[in-house]
C-alpha cells in the first residue's frame, strides 16, 4: 500500500494495529460546531438527524480529520428514559432534575426499548445516512454512557454515592438494568452502521474512584458490558485520570483509551504500548483561548510524546470540543497534525534536543 494514499479508516486501522500509518490519525470530536457550520441554534441542530449528518460532513471536509462523530449529547440517554434535557445557546444540552427521586424508584425502573424512543431513533437515522455517504472511507464513532456513569444523570451524583454505600442491593439492580440498556444501545448503533462505540466511563477514572473501588465496580461492569458489545470499543475517561488502572482497562477488552490532559501522555503511551491505543489529550477547556501558534505547539508536543510506533490518535481529552473554541484554533490543530504527524517522525530527535 502506498502510504500517503491511505483512507482515514486504513490510517486508523494501521494505528490500532500498533503500526505507523502515513500519519498520526486525527479525531476532531466536535459536536456543537456542526450547528455553527449550519448557522442554526444547538437545539435546532440536534432536532433532525439530517442536520447532524450535514454538520459532520461539513466539519470533516473543513478540518480533514479521520472520523465521523455521531455523538449528540450525553443526556440524550436521559431523554430516552423520560428525563429532562435543558438546552443552552452556547453549550451542550444538560440533564435536568434527576428522574430517580428515591431509592425505591429503582425497583420500578425499566430500560427503554431502543426502537420505541424517538431521540435514539434520530441517532440511528444519522448513523445510517452517514454510513451510506461515508462507506469505508472513515470510521463512524457511536457513543454510549457506561452503565456505571449513567446514574449520575439518572439520580444525581450525591444520591448515587449514597446508594453505593447505603443500598448496595439497589445499586446492583440499577447497574443490571443499565447494562442491558447500554448493550442494546451500543449494538443498535453498530447495526445502523457505526464502526466502533465510544464507552464513556469517567466514574471509573481515578479522578472519581480509587483503584480498589474500581476493581470492585466499574471494572467488572465494563468487562461484562464490553464483552457483549458486538464491535470494537474505545473507553473514554472524559478527561478523568487513569494511569493506575491502565492494565485493568486493557483487561476489559477495549481497543482504545481516551485520556486526560492532567496526565503525561508519554507515560500513558509507555504503559499502553502495543497493548491498547491512546486517544488524546489536548485540553479542550483551555483551547478556547489558544492562539494558532499555541495550538501548533501543543499538537507537536503530544505527537512527540506519544506518536512513535503508532497506537496513538490525536484528539482533545474529553471527547467533545467546547462550543467556545474558535474555528481558527481547530484549523491550526488540523494543519499541525497534517504537517507534524507525517510518519516517519524525522523531526523528533531535533525537537527533543531543544526541549
Amino acid at each position: 500500500m502506498i502510504k500517503n494514499q491511505m483512507t482515514s479508516l486504513q490510517r486508523v486501522m494501521a494505528t490500532l494495529g500498533h503500526n505507523e500509518a502515513d500519519r498520526v490519525p486525527f479525531f476532531l470530536l466536535a459536536t456543537m460546531h456542526g450547528a455553527k457550520e449550519l448557522g442554526m441554534s444547538i437545539k435546532e441542530y440536534f432536532s433532525k438527524p439530517e442536520n447532524v449528518v450535514e454538520g459532520q460532513l461539513k466539519l470533516r471536509a473543513k478540518y480533514r480529520h479521520d472520523c465521523i462523530y455521531n455523538f449528540y449529547y450525553a443526556p440524550i440517554e436521559i431523554e430516552a428514559w423520560g428525563g429532562e434535557v435543558i438546552y443552552s445557546d452556547d453549550g451542550p444540552p444538560n440533564s435536568g432534575a434527576p428522574f430517580i427521586r428515591s431509592f425505591d424508584d429503582i425497583k420500578k425502573l425499566q430500560a427503554p426499548l431502543i426502537d420505541e424512543v424517538p431521540c435514539l431513533k434520530k441517532v440511528l437515522k444519522s448513523t445510517q445516512i452517514l454510513k451510506e455517504k461515508i462507506g469505508d472511507d472513515a470510521p463512524i464513532i457511536g457513543v454510549v454512557m457506561s452503565p456505571f456513569s449513567l446514574p449520575i444523570m439518572q439520580m444525581g451524583f450525591d444520591k448515587y454515592i449514597e446508594l453505593m454505600y447505603e443500598a448496595p442491593d439497589l445499586f446492583n439492580i440499577l447497574i443490571t438494568i443499565n447494562e442491558e440498556f447500554c448493550i442494546r444501545w451500543a449494538n443498535a448503533q453498530l447495526k445502523a452502521g457505526a464502526t466502533a462505540i465510544c464507552y464513556f466511563d469517567p466514574v471509573s477514572s481515578t479522578t472519581i474512584s480509587t483503584k480498589e473501588m474500581y476493581l470492585k465496580t466499574g471494572f467488572k461492569i465494563a468487562k461484562r458490558t464490553i464483552g457483549r458489545i458486538d464491535g470494537p470499543t474505545a473507553t473514554h475517561m472524559a478527561s478523568g485520570r487513569c494511569l493506575p488502572i491502565v492494565e485493568n482497562l486493557i483487561q476489559t477488552g477495549t481497543a482504545v483509551l481516551g485520556v486526560s490532559w492532567q496526565e503525561d501522555v508519554r507515560q500513558l503511551k509507555t504503559v499502553c504500548q502495543n497493548k491498547i491505543s491512546v486517544l488524546g489529550n489536548l485540553n479542550g477547556v483551555e483551547m478556547r483561548r489558544w492562539t494558532p501558534e499555541k495550538a501548533e505547539e501543543e499538537v507537536k508536543k503530544a505527537i512527540s510524546k506519544a506518536g512513535s510506533g503508532g497506537g496513538f490518535i490525536l484528539s482533545d481529552n474529553h471527547g467533545e470540543i467546547p462550543f467556545q473554541v474558535p474555528d481558527d484554533v481547530l484549523m491550526a490543530i488540523s494543519e499541525a497534525v497534517h504537517k507534524w504527524g507525517q510518519y516517519p517522525l524525522h523531526w523528533l530527535s531535533d525537537y527533543r534536543q531543544t526541549r
Binding site: D158, T207, T210, R241, N283, E286, R288, F323
Partner: protein
C-alpha cells in the same frame, strides 16, 4: 493528637458514622468545640481532600466524610451557636448547572469546619444577584460544572461592579481546574482546586472583608 486525627480519618474513609461520632464525643468533654473542630475535623478533612487530588482517596470518600463531619459538628456546635463563624455573611450556590455535588461538598466542609453559610442552591445570574443584595452577602461561593456557566460569572461580576457591591467571589468546579487563568478572566477574587482549600481561602477573605 496525631493518633486521634488518624483514627478519625480512618473512620471517615470507612464511612463509619458511629465510630466517627464516638471519637468526637470522647473528646468533647476535654476540648472546646471550636478547638476540637480545628484540630481534628478540619485536619482530617483537609488530608482527605489532598488525598483525593493525588488519587489516594475516592471522591465518594470526600463526599461521605463531609456529610458525616457536618452531622457530627452540628451536634457539638448547633447552627445557631454563637461560636459559629457566620460573619461576614456568606452564601454558596451553583450557577446554572444541575450538578450539586461540588457545592454540597464545599457546604458540608465549611459547616463541619465551624462556619455558617446560606445555601442558594441552583440559581441564574439575576436571581443570584437579587439574593446577594437582599441578604447582604459579603462572600459568595460559586460552583459550576460547565464552561458556559463559568463564563456567566463575568456577568455577575459586572453587575456587582455597576451596582457598587463589594461582595467577594470565590469560584470552583471542573472548568477552573482545566484552565488555571479562567478564575481571573471571569473576575473572581479566589479559586479553589478542591473543596478543602475553601476553608483557608474563606479565612483569608474574611480578614480582608471584616
Amino acid at each position: 493528637m496525631m493518633n486521634v486525627v488518624n483514627d478519625f480519618m480512618q473512620a471517615l474513609l470507612n464511612v463509619d458514622r458511629l465510630l466517627a461520632k464516638k471519637i468526637i464525643d470522647d473528646h468533647v468533654s476535654i476540648m472546646h468545640p471550636i478547638q476540637l473542630i480545628e484540630d481534628i475535623v478540619v485536619v482530617a478533612l483537609e488530608r482527605i481532600g489532598t488525598g483525593w487530588q493525588d488519587g489516594t482517596y475516592a471522591l465518594s470518600q470526600v463526599y461521605m466524610s463531609g456529610r458525616i463531619c457536618e452531622e457530627v459538628v452540628d451536634t457539638i456546635l448547633p447552627p445557631s451557636d454563637p461560636d459559629r463563624k457566620d460573619q461576614p455573611k456568606m452564601a454558596i450556590c451553583v450557577l446554572s448547572d444541575h450538578h450539586k455535588l461540588g457545592k454540597t461538598i464545599v457546604y458540608s466542609l465549611l459547616r463541619a469546619s465551624g462556619f455558617e453559610l446560606l445555601d442558594f442552591d441552583i440559581v441564574e445570574v439575576n436571581d443570584m444577584v437579587a439574593r446577594v443584595k437582599e441578604q447582604k452577602i459579603k462572600i459568595l461561593l460559586i460552583s459550576v460544572l460547565m464552561l458556559p456557566s463559568a463564563l456567566k460569572i463575568k456577568k455577575v461580576k459586572k453587575i456587582f461592579k455597576d451596582e457598587g457591591l463589594d461582595t467577594k467571589i470565590i469560584v470552583g468546579g471542573a472548568p477552573f481546574r482545566f484552565d488555571d487563568q479562567l478564575w481571573q478572566e471571569v473576575g473572581a477574587d479566589a479559586m479553589c482546586e478542591t473543596a478543602s482549600e475553601a476553608v483557608s481561602v474563606v479565612h483569608n477573605l474574611m480578614e480582608c472583608v471584616s
